[in-house]
Subunit: 445 residues, 2 copies
Amino acid sequence: MSKDIVKPATLPGFLELLPQDQILFNEIKDVIRKTYENYGFVPIETPLIERSEILLAKGGGETEKQIYRFTKGDTDMALRFDLTVPLARYVAQHFSELNFPFRRYHIGKVYRGEKSQRGRFREFYQCDVDIIGNGRLSVIYDAEIVSIIYSTFKNLGFGNFTIRINNRKILNGFFGSLNIEDTTEVLRAVDKLEKIGEKGVISELSKLGLSNDTSHEILKFVKIKGTNEEKLASLKALNLTSAMFKEGIEELEKVTEYAEAFGVPPANYSIDLTIARGLDYYTGTVYETFLDDYPEIGSVCSGGRYENLAEYYTTQKLPGVGVSIGLTRLFYQLKEAGLLKEDSPITFTKVLVIPMEEKFNLNAIKVANTLRANGIVSEIHFEDVKISKKLSYANNLKIPYVIFIGEEETENNKVSLKDMKSGVQKLLELEEAVKIIQEQLAQNS
Amino acid sequence: MSKDIVKPATLPGFLELLPQDQILFNEIKDVIRKTYENYGFVPIETPLIERSEILLAKGGGETEKQIYRFTKGDTDMALRFDLTVPLARYVAQHFSELNFPFRRYHIGKVYRGEKSQRGRFREFYQCDVDIIGNGRLSVIYDAEIVSIIYSTFKNLGFGNFTIRINNRKILNGFFGSLNIEDTTEVLRAVDKLEKIGEKGVISELSKLGLSNDTSHEILKFVKIKGTNEEKLASLKALNLTSAMFKEGIEELEKVTEYAEAFGVPPANYSIDLTIARGLDYYTGTVYETFLDDYPEIGSVCSGGRYENLAEYYTTQKLPGVGVSIGLTRLFYQLKEAGLLKEDSPITFTKVLVIPMEEKFNLNAIKVANTLRANGIVSEIHFEDVKISKKLSYANNLKIPYVIFIGEEETENNKVSLKDMKSGVQKLLELEEAVKIIQEQLAQNS
C-alpha cells in the first residue's frame, strides 16, 4: 500500500532546534527562571488562547494585523501576542486572591504573524518579570528591576553589557516645555536617532511642523553627555519649571542611586535620554539592555514602568514595572554571532553501556542500574548491530564513557571502562569505575 | 475618560492556576523532566502551530473535529493535538541529523476542542518520552519504558501504582484464531470491560455478529488470572498456532522479565490482557498506569510500541516505543482527590526585609544583597505602608522570616530577625542571622 508522503517541514518563522541546541536553549531558560525565582518572583502560566475581546481590548493597528485570530464554534479567540495583556487579565481576574506587591515571572511562547524575515519569528519565547502594586508602587522597585536585569545577564555569562535607563516623565516634561503637546510622533522620531542619525531626526521633526530651533533644542537635550551624575546635573541645569520634568529627574536619580545600592556595577548601567520605548504604554522609568560588543543585536532586555496595568479589565489602579527578554530572538542571534558554547552537550548521557552479545543484556542492565543509582546518567545500547556502530553512536553523541559487558567482564564480575576522549580502556570493578567516572565528571563540571 | 471594562475571564476548558498551585505544578513537571533526562533522553520542542496537512496527514474523525484549525494569509494551519505527530514530522525532517536509537522527551501543551466538561481540558500538557529506532528497535527498550514509568511515579512520591502491560500481537493473534478479521470493533468492545462489565461486553460483541461461544472464548481469554508467570503459562497453554500470537507472548515475556532486571518491583507492574489502547496505532507492547488507591482517576501514563512512526512523512521505517503523561489532567485530579501537598510554598522567598522607614531603604538593600549572595531568596518591602500591613504580606505568603531594619538596627549595625512561625524576634549580627536561617532551612528541606 503506497501512501502519499507529506513533505515534513515547519512553517516559516517558527524556530525548531536540534537536540544539542535545545539543551542549550533550555539551559539559558533555566538560568533566567532561576534568577527570577531568586528575587522572590513566582511563576504564572496563562492559556495561549484567549477571547479576542480580551487580547484586543486595547486595540491598535499592528497588533490587530499580526494576531492569530480564529473562531471555534461561536467563540472568537486568538493566540496571545505578548505576556503583558494576559498578565493584566490574570491580575484583574484573580485580584482578591493575590498578594501585592505581586511579584510574578512568566516564561512562555507568544505569536505574531509578522512578515517573515531572517531573525524575525512568528512564535517566540518571552521571559517576563514584573512587580505589580495595588494602587501604588514605590519607584525603588524600578531600581530593583535594574538589579534583576544585571543578575540575569551576569548569570548567563555576559560581562560587557549596558542597561540604558530613561524616564518618560523627563521626556514628556521637556517636550511640554517646548509646547509640543502631542509628543507621540516626536518621541517616535527621537527614538530613531541611532538608526537615522541627527539629520534624519531633524528632517522627521520638521515634517511634524517643528522649527529648526525647537528641533535643535530637542537634539541638544537627547545628546546630554557624561556620567549619570553629570547627566542628572545637566538636566537640572535646564531649569525647566515643568513639575512632570522635575518628578522624572527625581525618579531617575533614585533609580540610578538605588541601582548602585543593589550592587549593580556602574559600568553596567547608564542614563540614556534617547530611549523612549513603547510609546503609549510606559509612563515612567524605561529600560533597554545592550551587549556592548554586539550593539547590532539591539536591545536584549527591555521594559519599564506603567501606571495602570489592567485598566481594560478592572477599575482597580494597578501600577507596575517590569522587563522582558525575547529569548528566541536572543538565542538565534547569539548563535549567528558565534557566541554560544561550542562544546555544549548533545546528550545528558555520561555512560553508554554496551552488551557485547544479547546474552549479556541482563548484566548490562544491572550495571546501568548501579550507574543511575549513583547519579550517573546512563543508557544501554540494546540493538543487535556491530560494536563499531554502537561506538560511533557514542562518538556522535560525544558520550564521554563506554562500558563494555562481555564474556570476560561477566566471568570476572568486572566491567571494561573506555574513556572515549583518551581511548584508554580498563577492566575494573564496577565500584572503581563509578568512582573514576564521578571524580572525572566533577572535575570537568 | 471612562472606558468599557472587558470581563477578565479565561475560556472554558483552559486551566489557569494561582501561583501556589503553579509552583507545585512546575515542581511536578521538573521531576518528570529530570527523570527523563536521567535515562539519557534529550529534549525537543516543536512549534505549536503546524500546517494542517502535516497534522491531519493521518486523518481520522475525532481529530478532525477537535482540532483548532485556521488560516492566516494563504496558509491552512492548526494547533497540534498531541506530541506524537510533531515527533513523527520532526524525525522525518531531521532524520539525517539525528542519532538512532533516538531518545527524546517532549513536555508541551496540546490542544483539543473537546466538549467542555469537568476535568476535561482543551489545553493540556503532555509529557512524552519515546525511543525511535532506525529500521528496527529491540523489544528490550519496551522493558526500559516500564522502568521509566516506574521511576517517574516513584520520584513523584507515589507508592501504590500498577503499570499494566499487554501486547497487541497477542490480542490480534488470538482474534485471528477465532476468525475475527476486523478486530478493531471487537477490541473496542473488550476495552470497555471495566466500564460496562461482562454482560455489556457480550451484548456489544453479539451486536458485532459474534456467537455466544466466541464471546465467551474472548471473555475467558481476557480474564486469565494469576501472577505474570501464570498468565504467560495460561496463554501458552492455549496452544494457538498463530505466529503473531506466539510472537506476542515471547515479547510480553521478555518485557516482564527485563522489567524486573531494570529493578521495577513486581508489585508495580502486571500483565493485563484487557488493555488494548489506541486501536489502529500500537502494534506491540501497550501500557497503562493506575494509582491503586484511586482507580477512578483512570490511566495516568499510557503508551506503547508502534511499528512505523513517520509513515506519512518519510519512506524510512521508524519503529518506536513510548509513553505519555497527561499532566494537566493528572494535576487537576490529584488536587480534586486531595492528594497534593497542602503545605506547598506560596513563594520562593525565605526572608522579607522590612525597612522601618524610607531612610533605612539603603541599609535594607545591603542586607538583602548579603542574603541573596548566601543563597537565601529574599525580597524587600519598599511600600510606604504600615508595618502591620507588611507583616500580613509575609504571613499571607507564608514567608518564614522577616528582617526589620530600623533605628536601633542601623545604629548597632545589626538586624532584627523574626521567625514568623515561633514569633520569636532577636537582634543579631547579619552573619549570625544568615547562619541561623541557612541551618533552619536546611533542616526543614
